[in-house]
């Protein structure tokens, strides 16, 4: 099928299945996560269609699409405001299990992940181990056929909604810090696990701290070898970093700014879109977004040719997140005091009350707030620059 026909097929499906409620949940996203219930409802629809995991090999439930088709699908979903699926299971754990998991693990976990029966969260960071992940200290001590896990994980997104967690744990203190780490799958309803929500600056809860107090987990839940978890984690981080197309997000941001700029008035009483200084500021950022778009295309070209994105994915992470943040600042400048009203209930897709400010102003401040984290998680902007200096420039 050629790309145009494929796009038409995707659009037809979205038109059919993406209900106004689901679209609203996508519209109201103020971070990479959408409303949980809407997310899972959409997940199940895609699962029924067989489109829930386009990036997976066909044998495990993937779609067999070309790279281009996968990109088109992603683009169409985002531009039509489908709620984003949770990446922890589909984008992180799935490919990792396919690569490192035992046959039993694959057979057990992959179908439940696809169907949405299992909802996974990611247990990597700890209060003392952020950018320096290798220094993690949550311990798993062998006790018969089980490990006993003690410690805690932090910044665990949507832990409050998850029934499973995959964790990096310390199984040995010998050798380099990386050497004693293992990768393990844990049931969230195991005794000894407590989830404590972390309230974000926007007043809502996306992340949690997860406490492990003598949590007993079968050794069979280990993925890969004991003490070889760092290898697995690195593979997974690559997926986390390389898997994002910032261009689509930027296009959504730019469309929103254009809407704001063609409805709101500047200090001289002209529409913002007719203000030359505003246009210059916006263009500065939009030029970087365009440059990134073509950089992502270069990467896609390299991938298509069987190559490796290499350190260009660090470049994309840096420019993608920083450009997104600059767009947030532009919206803030347009909206001025209209960004201030705190109407948290209106960010729920089922809100039926009256908005205080225009719809396009509603999520401006929480987006600005939440997007500050984009240069921290998934390898901070500083870590990414360290990577470029070392791996690309050979410094």
């Amino acid at each position: 099928m050629n790309d145009n026909n494929f796009r038409a097929e995707v659009r037809a499906f979205l038109q059919e299945e993406l209900t106004p409620e689901l679209k609203r949940a996508g519209e109201l996203m103020t971070s990479v996560f959408a409303d949980f219930d809407a997310t899972m409802a959409w997940h199940r629809k895609l699962y029924q269609k067989g489109w829930v995991a386009p990036d997976w090999p066909e044998a495990y439930g993937g779609t067999g699409w070309t790279l281009n088709q996968r990109y088109i699908f992603q683009e169409e979903c985002k531009l039509s405001n489908a709620p984003a699926l949770l990446p922890m299971g589909l984008q992180m754990l799935g490919p990792m299990l396919i690569h490192y998991g035992s046959d039993e693990q694959k057979a057990h976990y992959l179908p439940r992940l696809l169907s949405g029966e299992d909802v996974w969260c990611q247990g990597y960071s700890e209060p003392g181990a952020g950018s320096d992940l290798a220094s993690l200290s949550t311990s798993a001590v062998r006790d018969g056929d089980d490990y006993l896990i003690n410690g805690s994980k932090i910044w665990t997104s949507y832990a409050q909604h998850s029934n499973k967690i995959f964790c990096l744990v310390r199984t040995s203190k010998e050798g380099a810090p990386q050497a004693g780490i293992s990768f393990i799958l844990v049931d969230m309803d195991t005794d000894g696990i407590t989830v404590e929500p972390i309230v974000g600056l926007d007043g809502r809860v996306e992340q949690c701290q997860v406490f492990f107090d003598g949590v007993r987990v079968p050794v069979a839940n280990l993925v890969g070898e004991e003490n070889q978890g760092w290898e697995v984690a690195k593979y997974l981080l690559e997926f986390e970093r390389g898997g994002h197309n910032f261009t689509i997000d930027h296009k959504k941001q730019m469309a929103k700014i254009r809407k704001q700029a063609s409805e709101e008035y500047d200090a001289d009483g002209y529409l913002w879109r007719d203000n030359p200084v505003f246009n210059a500021r916006f263009a500065e950022v939009a030029v970087d977004a365009l440059a990134l778009e073509y950089t992502e295309l270069r990467i896609k070209g390299a991938l298509n040719a069987g190559g490796n994105p290499g350190a260009l994915s660090s470049l994309c992470k840096i420019v993608g997140t920083e450009t997104g943040q600059r767009f947030n600042e532009i919206s803030m400048d347009i909206l001025g005091p209209q960004a201030l009203p705190f109407q948290i209930a209106a960010l729920e897709p089922d809100f039926e009350g009256e908005l205080i400010v225009a719809d396009y102003a509603l999520s401006c401040m929480p987006e600005y707030i939440n997007n500050r984290a984009a240069t921290i998680y998934g390898g901070s902007a500083e870590i990414q620059r360290d990577i470029i200096a070392k791996r690309v420039l050979g410094l």
Partner: protein, 378 residues
């Protein structure tokens, strides 16, 4: 221009610092923010008792005759402690407008109450889609005989939820965009036909949407000269912007201090993250941005108090610089704190939100850069 603080000014600064550091710690602040009204009347009463509310009014009005420098000193400390009580709205704007423009009768009715902590004021000027310049006000009122009939609505009126009195900027002549023809009218917030929808703001304060339908206000409630509100407003707005900027400077300095402390303690890769040169230089740049703002802030206060010809130019520079420096410092304070800086639990992000709110008011960076350019060409 040499700025030397008087004995009284030093005392004001020290007493504000001491009182707030002891009684307005972050935990106490958060308790207030999470209360229904996000406002603490006990604190406000203490502010009154400490003379802070009276500080900048003339002695004959029951004040201490303080000027821009006093406003600055107090505002800066309010910024350090992230105080959410509406000093800015009620005193710097409301009080100064009433004091400068109201009849003796109105003054005695409202100003005394305000100074003693018993009257809250809001200034209502911005309108939906038009909220960047005061001249861009369309809401019109018809004057007939001794009264004004007020109709229309105002958006994001800060302190609007708590206000007893609203100062409404409206048009009694001229057209949207013109400075002439604007009048400032004192309206009782409980007047018939005045409806408000109250809410909190992201920076932990309160505001409201106001709608007025056939609200009948006596002509005597016009502050200053009818149709010439901008003349009354200009000096108050100038001092108001200084106050906001000083608050931002207080917030920025608290962020620099907190970030320096945190990076010394936080260990990653086997050492304090303060040992990483990139972070050291980032903090040096944060310090530089802060001190440049501080220099402009001090100069602006001095120039406003001395009616210096460059006062407006310096003020425009200050607001523009605070916008960029405030963002730079707040963004990097969060970045250097990492994940924990994005949580409700730490004060870091609350400074960030307050700085964002300050930036959103009374003109963006580009607005003030244009103003600066215009005044430079004179």
């Amino acid at each position: 221009m040499y700025i030397e603080f008087s004995e009284e000014q030093r005392m004001l600064k020290e007493s504000a610092e001491k009182y707030l550091n002891e009684n307005y710690e972050f935990e106490a602040r958060q308790k207030i923010v999470k209360s229904d009204s996000n406002y603490c009347s006990t604190q406000w009463q203490t502010f009154a008792d400490l003379g802070w509310l009276a500080m900048t009014f003339a002695e004959e009005a029951g004040g201490f005759g303080g000027g821009a420098l006093e406003t600055m000193l107090l505002s800066e400390q309010l910024g350090v402690n992230l105080v959410v009580e509406p000093y800015f709205e009620t005193v710097v704007f409301g009080g100064q407008l009433i004091s400068a423009g109201a009849s003796d009768e109105i003054k005695s009715r409202y100003l005394d109450a305000l100074i003693s902590g018993h009257c809250q004021v809001a200034f209502a000027w911005s309108e939906t889609k038009h909220h960047h310049a005061m001249s861009d006000v369309a809401m019109a009122a018809s004057v007939s005989g001794d009264s004004i009939l007020v109709n229309g609505s105002k958006t994001v009126v800060l302190n609007g939820a708590a206000a007893d009195v609203v100062l409404v900027l409206l048009r009694t002549a001229g057209e949207r965009g013109q400075s002439d023809g604007l009048s400032l009218v004192l309206v009782d917030a409980d007047a018939e036909g005045c409806v408000r929808r109250s809410y909190k703001t992201y920076d932990g304060r309160n505001a409201a949407e106001f709608s007025f339908s056939n609200v009948n206000v006596p002509l005597a409630n016009v502050l200053g000269v009818q149709g010439s509100a901008m003349e009354l407003l200009a000096p108050v707005v100038h001092r108001g912007i200084l106050s906001l900027c000083a608050e931002a400077v207080g917030a920025m300095s608290a962020l620099v201090d907190a970030t320096v402390d945190y990076t010394k303690q936080r260990k990653q890769f086997g050492r304090s993250i303060s040992q990483f040169q990139v972070l050291r230089h980032r903090m040096a740049d944060m310090f530089i941005a802060l001190e440049l703002c501080r220099s402009l802030m001090l100069a602006t206060a001095w120039k406003l108090d001395h009616n210096d010809a460059d006062a407006e130019l310096t003020l425009a520079a200050l607001k523009a610089k605070v916008a960029s420096a405030g963002k730079f410092i707040a963004h990097n304070a969060i970045q250097l704190h990492g994940g924990i800086g994005t949580t409700d639990e730490l004060k870091i992000g609350h400074y960030f939100k307050r700085i964002a709110a300050i930036n959103s008011q009374f003109g963006s960076r580009d607005f003030h850069l244009a103003r600066f350019a215009q005044l430079s060409q004179k």
